[in-house]
Amino acid sequence: MSTRFVLKDHVNESRLVNDRLIFAAIFAGILFAVLMARLAILQVIEHEHFDVLSNKNRVDIEPLPPQRGLIYDRNGVVLAENIPTFSLELIPEKVVMLDNTLSELAVLFSLSIEDVAKIEKTIKQQYRFRHVVIRHRLTEQEVAVFSANRHRFPGVDVVGRLIRHYPHGALFAHTVGYVGRINEKDQSLIDEKNYKGTLQIGKTGVEKYYEDLLHGQVGYQQVETNVQGRVVRELNNEASVSGQALFLNLDIQLQRVAAEALGEYNGAIVAMDPKTGGVLAMVSKPDFDPNLFVGGISRKDYSVLRDSIDRPLFDRTLRGHYPPGSTLKPFVALAGLELGVVKKNTKTYCPGWYTLPGKDHRYRCWKSHGHGRVDLKQSLAQSCDVYYYDLANVLGIDRLHQFLDLFSFGRRSGVDVPSESRGLSPSSEWKRSARNQVWYPGETLISGIGQGFNQTTPVQLAYATSMLAMRGINTLPQVARGSRPDAGSELNLTPVKRGDSLPIVSNDNWQVVVDSMIEVTSGQRGTAKSVGKGLPFKVAGKTGTAQVFGIKQDEKYDAETLAKKLHDHAIFIAFAPAENPEFVVVVVAENGGSGSKTAAPMARKMIDQYFGEIVDE
């Protein structure tokens, strides 16, 4: 071996290597000191900075949506409740591969392409980091299926939620309304912070009008999450404040009777307490099941409702425009009395028709062979059209309009349900500005019997009737009776809202009109004499038959041959007891034919129900 021949200086060699070892050891020491310095910078000097980052990593603030307030009728019967369900939800920002996740979930839960498209649309519209519901109301089996596959879907979870439920289904569909998914339009109106975690918002009816009160205050939960965004444990929380319970003036029994009374007719019934303005019943037919809307209505269900010729989604009590017909006559009569155009005993001869001076167009009375000589009382009791043609002609449209304006015709009643229509009480001014046409005297005549341009909603008519019943005391109709912040506290009654009392000078004038309306329900020749029969008190009422379809000169209205859609609307207004009114009812039965035959008996059923209850108590 070659090594043998080389002289090795062991002492020198070991000194050489040992020097280098010492050098290397010192160098390593320096490097380790550098590491320690680096660690000290990170862990001492920048500690706070990284501590914040670490907390941000793991601590997530989850909103705790408040429990929506329940809605009760006046007897404490639940009209809208919250029932626990499980829903499958995702937070788009926490999902790694959104497209894959959605398509895999679609397979797992057999979602249709449209469902997926809808979810994708929602994801685009939503604010960041908000839950998007993939599927409402999971069955237990579906929950189990997802739980087994949960690891595959970071950012997706089964969430236990309370979902709105309307136990009486269609009965309160329009007035109580329903909640639905918060859409883009809602988002611009709500306080984003308070609605974090809330998925649904009042869309129609009381649910919409009292949204702020029902919704409550959002709470927060600080939770520790892992890298997939799953909650590991709760750190602390601030409880949400539940929405207030809302008590309505509506009475479920009356509501039921109203719905049954209308039967197969499309139409509306509104009943209220004229003293408090409390709306006791508010029914629009046909109706629909509001529960369909809660979880997001399917396209198919929605198109059935939307495209139905009977328009079930349309709230006739608030938006249905009906000519008031003869039910306007008590108000016209009062105008005549108050403005001194007629007196209690002023008589007019009714030959069955009326002509304007110098014209030969005949304005017909509903009774073709005429009522003969009628005074004011009989003109209302028998609903003589000629009397009111004459009266309106003398009053003139603008004085009539001014007077009807006091009763809120052509204006919103201000009831606490959204999207009320204004109706229309015509004037020459209105015709000029809206239609750019002059007012014809003939139009004044038919306005006098509540036809022509006149349009009123059932709620408006009920409001006007209640002012009439209360002899000018103006109490606004109100659906909400009060609210209660929590189960333990007292009911917070909604104050009765009063408008300006009507400036009617003579108390006698009220009495004349009321007496005449009593005659309608109890007089020998009253058009609704069935209504007042067998009651311990007097009922003041007025029938109305509103023309849907204009009948040409010399043509007779033949109900048999007309298509049902063209039949007259049957209307009836009433209050009782006439001298101390507690109950006002307005019935509109679309295409019901005649007010006295169709609408008046429905009103009687309502009166029986209301006073039957009172007697029972």
Binding site: S2, T3, V6, L7, K8, D9, H10, E13, S14, L16, V17, N18, D19, R20, L21, A24, A25, A28, G29, L31, F32, V34, L35, M36, R38, L39, A40, L42, Q43, V44, E46, H47, H49, F50, D51, L53, S54, N55, N57, R58, E224, T225, N226, V227, Q228, V232
Partner: protein, 377 residues
């Protein structure tokens, strides 16, 4: 203190334990240091691995096997090792070439050779073979080596390092190159050669950039600015720094580190296990850990200093210093001082192969120390 224990004849029991260990060629101090480190490692692994006992027992089995290797090597005379140095190196080289041709891929790199029964990583063999060969080659002639031999030394280092870098496994290539270069440095070559070598290496950096893989370049870029890609390649280092920094002076406590326990920290039981220690035990904890590493390496350097041949001196020195390079690169990497090159924290990170070679190295150290001819006693 070390000397006290060694010479504490007043305590016969301790003395007999050390003597017993000596009989099977184990060094008590080194053994004590290594066992402490392995114990700490298991404790941290329990925390980093989501308290999984299965993970822990697998690691324990590896430790047992690696310790067996240590004891075997400790009982082989250093001269026998020197005799087989060329053979071991040659075999390692052939295996490295084989791995490039027929190796199996794992994590996007060809590092494994399937020998039917076991999967084997030839680069690990080179971690021992390179310093062994260089120490043997350099010690054949008087120190320091003359230039032509120095050139051959560089070739002996460069060939395996480049082959491993090609797999690609930059971390291991770096460790193997430094273990060889350390031998050359210890052999006493003149400072002029060292400085010119450093200058040459610095000027070669742009060339290195050119031949690097995309992912390696990305790592360097990420290292220079981790925030540029917080969800991609910068994620590791950002989360690691958060874990370390949030640990503070005393840490969040064992099993209490949120970065680690909630899985924000990636690779937390392997390359980034140091961040778990830093988060849960704070600056105090990592300071003590680094001291333990220094103590083990210090004992190794002492053994090198006490060695009776240049071969043993160079080999022991290289093994001890490379151990420190390991620690430095890993800690530098997780603290953001160095780019992420995939070097585990020695004897603590989860994983078998590096454990076996590291303990084999310490086995060689013990062999060197316990096979000395007792001239003084």
């Amino acid at each position: 203190m070390n000397k006290q224990i060694l010479t504490d004849r007043a305590n016969p029991e301790r003395w007999s334990l050390i003597r017993t260990l000596r009989v099977i060629h184990l060094d008590a101090l080194l053994l004590f240091g290594l066992l402490s480190l392995l114990g700490v490692g298991l404790m941290i692994l329990f925390s980093a691995g989501n308290q999984e006992v299965a993970l822990l027992s697998r690691q324990l089995i590896r430790m047992g096997m690696a310790f067996f290797g240590l004891v075997v090597l400790a009982n082989i005379h250093p001269d026998r090792m020197r005799d087989v140095a060329y053979w071991v190196y040659g075999a390692g080289l052939i295996l490295l070439i084989a791995v490039l041709l027929v190796g199996e891929e794992g994590k996007g790199a060809q590092r494994w050779l399937n020998l039917g029964v076991v999967r084997f990583q030839p680069s690990e063999l080179m971690k021992i073979a390179v310093p062994l060969l260089l120490a043997a080659y350099v010690a054949e002639r008087p120190l320091p080596p003359i230039l032509p031999r120095l050139f051959i030394c560089f070739l002996m280092v460069a060939i395996p390092a480049l082959l491993i870098a090609k797999q690609p496994d930059l971390g291991t290539a770096l460790l193997i190159a430094s273990s060889g270069l350390i031998v050359i440095f210890l052999s006493g070559i003149s400072w002029a050669v060292i400085i010119s070598f450093i200058l040459a290496a610095a000027s070669a950096l742009p060339v290195l950039w050119y031949v690097m893989h995309d992912y390696q370049r990305q790592r360097v870029l990420t290292f220079l600015n981790p925030e540029s890609d917080p969800l991609g390649s910068g994620y590791h280092i950002i989360q690691s720094k958060i874990a370390i920094g949030s640990g503070g002076l005393f840490g969040r406590g064992w099993l209490e580190g949120t970065q680690s326990q909630l899985a924000f920290l990636p690779e937390r039981s392997t390359d980034f296990i140091f961040s778990v220690i830093a988060e849960e035990f704070g600056l105090m904890g990592v300071g003590l850990l680094l001291l333990l590493y220094l103590a083990i390496a210090g004992r190794g350097l002492y053994i090198a200093g006490q060695a009776q041949s240049s071969f043993a001196r160079l080999l022991a020195g290289s093994i001890s210093l490379t151990f420190l390079v390991y620690v430095f690169v890993n800690v530098g990497m997780v603290t953001g001082l160095l780019p992420v090159v995939g070097v585990p924290l020695p004897l603590v990170s989860y994983g078998g192969t590096s454990m076996v070679t590291l303990l084999a190295g310490f086995g060689i150290l013990m062999s060197i120390h316990t096979h000395r001819r007792m001239m003084t006693s």
